[in-house]
C-alpha cells in the first residue's frame, strides 16, 4: 500500500524513550508507576516488556499514546515516535498519531470491541476517519484485512457482532482493526493473556508473521516469559517502574544477569519433576506509593548488600547490546537460584 510500511535499513530508531516517568496523583497518595525508563525500538523490531502486574509496563504503553487521564497524570521525560515528540503534540496531531502511525491491541478483546456495532462497522469507521475512504472502499479494505488475519469466511464475519465471535476470532478482528491504517508502530498490551493456550499460540504466530511482513516496530507487553521468548527480538525486564535488564532475547534467556530475571526464569515450569517445588521469588513488589530508597528489588533479592539500600544501581553494559542495573554486575558471585 505504501512504502512506509517497509522496514528501513539500520537508521534512526522508530521509538526513542528517554527517562520516562509517570506519576498518578490523587488526593490520598502519589503513585510512581514508571520511574525513569529509557529504551529504543528500531523499525521492524519487536521489543518485549516483561514484568509482573503493577510493574508499570502497561502504563508505559499508554503513556506512549497519551491515553492516561491527563488531569491526574504527570509524565516527564521524552517520547519520540518516528521523529515526533509525543508529549508535545497538540490534540489534532495526537489524533493523527493514534491509529495512524501507532496503534494498539488490547488484552481483553471482548471489552475492547464496542458491543453495539458489528466488527466490520468498527473497522470501516476507523478507516473512514483516518483515510477519508468511501464506505465501499473501506469495506473492501476491511475484507482484505480480515483475510490477512486469517479469519475464516471473512465476508460474513464483518457483519458479526463481537459477542458472536470466539475469543480468538475477536482478537484477530482487533488485530485487523489495529492494522487498518498501516501503523509503523504496534503496541500490544498482553494480547494473548485472555485467550486459550491453543489459540494463544496461533495469535502469536499471526502477530509475528504480520509484524515481519508489514515491517512494523512492535512493543509487546506480557508477564509470560514463554510468550516473550516466542515473539521478541529484544526483552526488557521491568520491575517497580524501572527496566532492570535489557538485551537480545536469546542472551537474556541463556544468561540472565539481574537477580530478578534469574528469579523469573527459575519460577517458570518446564520439565521439572512433578514433586519438585517451583522456585518462587520471596516477598512481593514494593508499594509504588512509598518506593524504598536504593534498589527496588533489594528487599526481595537473595544477594542484597548494604549498598543496595543506599542508591539505585547504575547502568552497566555486560556486552554491547545488553543493559543491567545491579551493583553486583561484573562481580564473580552470582545469585544462588
Amino acid at each position: 500500500m505504501d512504502g512506509t510500511l517497509m522496514p528501513q535499513a539500520d537508521i534512526a530508531p522508530l521509538v526513542e524513550i528517554e527517562d520516562l516517568t509517570v506519576r498518578f496523583t490523587s488526593r490520598e497518595a502519589t503513585v510512581s508507576a514508571v520511574n525513569g525508563v529509557s529504551f529504543s525500538v528500531k523499525p521492524g523490531e519487536v521489543l518485549c516488556i516483561l514484568g509482573e502486574s503493577g510493574s508499570g509496563k502497561s502504563v508505559t504503553l499508554r503513556a506512549m499514546m497519551r491515553l492516561l487521564p491527563e488531569k491526574r497524570t504527570t509524565i516527564t521525560g521524552r517520547i519520540t515516535i518516528a521523529g515526533q515528540d509525543v508529549l508535545g503534540l497538540n490534540a489534532r496531531d495526537l489524533r493523527a498519531l493514534r491509529g495512524g502511525l501507532v496503534s494498539m491491541i488490547f488484552q481483553e478483546p471482548m471489552t475492547a470491541l464496542d458491543p453495539v456495532y458489528t466488527v466490520g462497522e468498527q473497522i470501516i469507521e476507523t478507516l473512514r476517519k483516518h483515510r477519508n475512504m468511501s464506505r465501499e472502499g473501506a469495506r473492501a479494505r476491511a475484507l482484505d484485512l480480515f483475510e490477512l488475519v486469517k479469519i475464516p469466511s471473512p465476508e460474513r464475519r464483518l457483519d458479526s457482532y463481537p459477542h458472536e465471535l470466539s475469543g480468538g476470532l475477536r482478537q484477530r478482528a482487533m488485530i485487523a482493526m489495529a492494522l487498518s491504517c498501516g501503523p509503523r508502530l504496534l503496541l500490544a498490551d498482553e494480547p494473548t493473556t485472555a485467550l486459550d493456550a491453543t489459540v494463544q499460540i496461533q495469535v502469536l504466530i499471526l502477530l509475528r508473521r504480520l509484524q515481519r511482513e508489514l515491517g512494523m516496530g512492535t512493543i509487546f507487553v506480557t508477564h509470560d516469559l514463554g510468550v516473550a521468548s516466542e515473539i521478541a527480538d529484544r526483552i526488557a525486564v521491568m520491575y517497580a517502574g524501572r527496566i532492570v535488564e535489557e538485551g537480545p532475547v536469546a542472551d537474556i534467556l541463556a544468561n540472565p544477569r539481574h537477580p530478578y530475571t534469574q528469579g523469573l526464569m527459575a519460577s517458570t515450569v518446564h520439565g521439572q519433576h512433578r514433586d519438585a517445588d517451583i522456585q518462587a521469588i520471596p516477598g512481593s513488589p514494593p508499594d509504588l506509593r512509598r518506593m524504598p530508597a536504593g534498589c527496588s528489588f533489594g528487599p526481595r533479592c537473595p544477594t542484597s548488600q548494604p549498598r543496595c539500600r543506599e542508591a539505585f544501581p547504575p547502568i552497566s553494559h555486560p556486552s554491547a547490546d545488553r543493559m543491567v542495573r545491579c551493583f553486583r554486575e561484573g562481580e564473580e558471585a552470582k545469585a544462588s537460584f
Binding site: 496503534s103 464496542d114 456495532y117 483475510e147 458472536e164 465471535l165 470466539s166 480468538g168
Partner: protein
C-alpha cells in the same frame, strides 16, 4: 496492504460458534423476536388500537362528547344508541372515553419524551465528564428525588396552576431525575470499558466517542426504562386530573371523568368504573409491551 502472503497457519478448524448464513442486523433480529412473542404482539396491537382511536377520535366517536342531556343522565349500556351509556351530565360515555384517550396518551408520552431528552442529556454529560460536573448535576437531581413522585407532581402543578400544559411540565420534572440517573449510570459504566480507550487509541474525537460509542450503548437501557414510565405517567396524569390539577372540565379525560363520576358511584357503578378500566388497560398494555421490547432487545449476553 499489498499482499496476503501464503502462511503456514491454518485457522479453518478454530472454534466457530456463529451459525451459518446469518447476516441480519441487530434491529432486524429484535423485530423478529418481537414478532415471535405472542403476548407482546397482542398487547402491542391493543396499544396501537388505543393510539389510533385517539388520533381518529372525531371519525370514530358516535356522539359529540360535549353534548349534554338533562333527561339522559347515567343511563345504562345501550340506552338510545349510547353503547356504553351516558355520564352524569348525559354525555355519551364511549365518545368521551375515545376522546379521553387523547389527553391521557399525550400526558403519558410527552412528559416521558421531554424527560428522556433532558434527563438523558444531563446524565450522559454527567457520566462522561465525571468529577465536579457530575456532582453538580447528580446532586441537583437528588433534590428532586427526595420527594415522593406523586407529591412532587402535585406540588409543581399546584404551584403553577392546573391545565394540561402545566401538568405535562410537572410530570416532565418528576421523570427527569430518574432518567438522568439511568443515563448517568449507564454512561459511567460504558466510560470505563476498554472500547472507549480503544476508540481513543484509534484517534477518535471526544465528541465522536460520545455520539458513537457512548450513546450507542446508553440509548438501549434509557429507552427501555423510559417506555416503562409511560404507564406511570398515564396514571400520574389521571391522578392530577382527578385532583383537578390536570385537564380542566369539560374536556374529556379519564382521570377527570373518574373524579366527577365518583359521586354517582351508587347510581350506576359500572359507568363510573369505565374510565378506571380504560386507564388500567392502557397502562398495563404499555407496561407489557415495554417488557416485551426489553427482552427482545436483550439479544446479546
Amino acid at each position: 496492504m499489498t499482499q496476503a502472503v501464503a502462511t503456514s497457519i491454518d485457522t479453518s478448524w478454530e472454534a466457530d460458534p456463529a451459525p451459518a448464513a446469518k447476516t441480519r442486523t441487530y434491529w432486524q433480529s429484535v423485530l423478529i423476536r418481537i414478532f415471535r412473542d405472542k403476548a407482546t404482539l397482542i398487547f402491542g396491537t391493543v396499544v396501537l388500537a388505543i393510539v389510533l382511536l385517539a388520533i381518529f377520535a372525531p371519525l370514530i366517536a358516535p356522539f359529540d362528547p360535549y353534548k349534554e342531556s338533562i333527561i339522559g343522565r347515567l343511563k345504562p349500556f345501550g340506552w338510545r344508541g349510547h353503547p356504553l351509556g351516558t355520564d352524569e351530565l348525559g354525555r355519551d360515555m364511549l365518545s368521551r372515553l375515545i376522546y379521553g384517550a387523547r389527553s391521557s396518551l399525550l400526558m403519558g408520552m410527552v412528559p416521558v419524551l421531554v424527560a428522556t431528552l433532558v434527563g438523558g442529556t444531563l446524565g450522559v454529560i454527567g457520566g462522561f465528564a465525571g468529577k465536579r460536573v457530575n456532582t453538580a448535576i447528580m446532586r441537583t437531581m437528588d433534590v428532586f428525588y427526595a420527594f415522593p413522585s406523586v407529591l412532587l407532581a402535585v406540588a409543581i402543578s399546584g404551584a403553577m396552576g392546573g391545565g394540561m400544559m402545566n401538568g405535562m411540565i410537572a410530570l416532565s420534572m418528576v421523570f427527569t431525575p430518574a432518567l438522568c440517573r439511568i443515563a448517568e449510570t449507564a454512561t459511567a459504566q460504558v466510560r470505563s470499558l476498554d472500547f472507549i480507550e480503544a476508540a481513543r487509541a484509534t484517534g477518535a474525537r471526544p465528541l465522536t466517542i460520545i455520539r458513537h460509542h457512548v450513546l450507542g450503548n446508553v440509548l438501549g437501557p434509557v429507552f427501555i426504562y423510559a417506555s416503562s414510565l409511560v404507564s406511570v405517567s398515564i396514571l400520574l396524569a389521571s391522578g392530577l386530573s382527578f385532583l383537578g390539577l390536570g385537564v380542566k372540565p369539560p374536556e374529556p379525560d379519564w382521570g377527570l371523568m373518574l373524579s366527577t363520576l365518583r359521586q354517582s358511584l351508587y347510581v350506576n357503578p359500572i359507568i363510573c368504573a369505565m374510565p378506571g378500566a380504560a386507564i388500567f388497560v392502557t397502562s398495563i398494555c404499555f407496561n407489557l409491551v415495554s417488557d416485551g421490547i426489553r427482552s427482545a432487545m436483550d439479544v446479546r449476553q
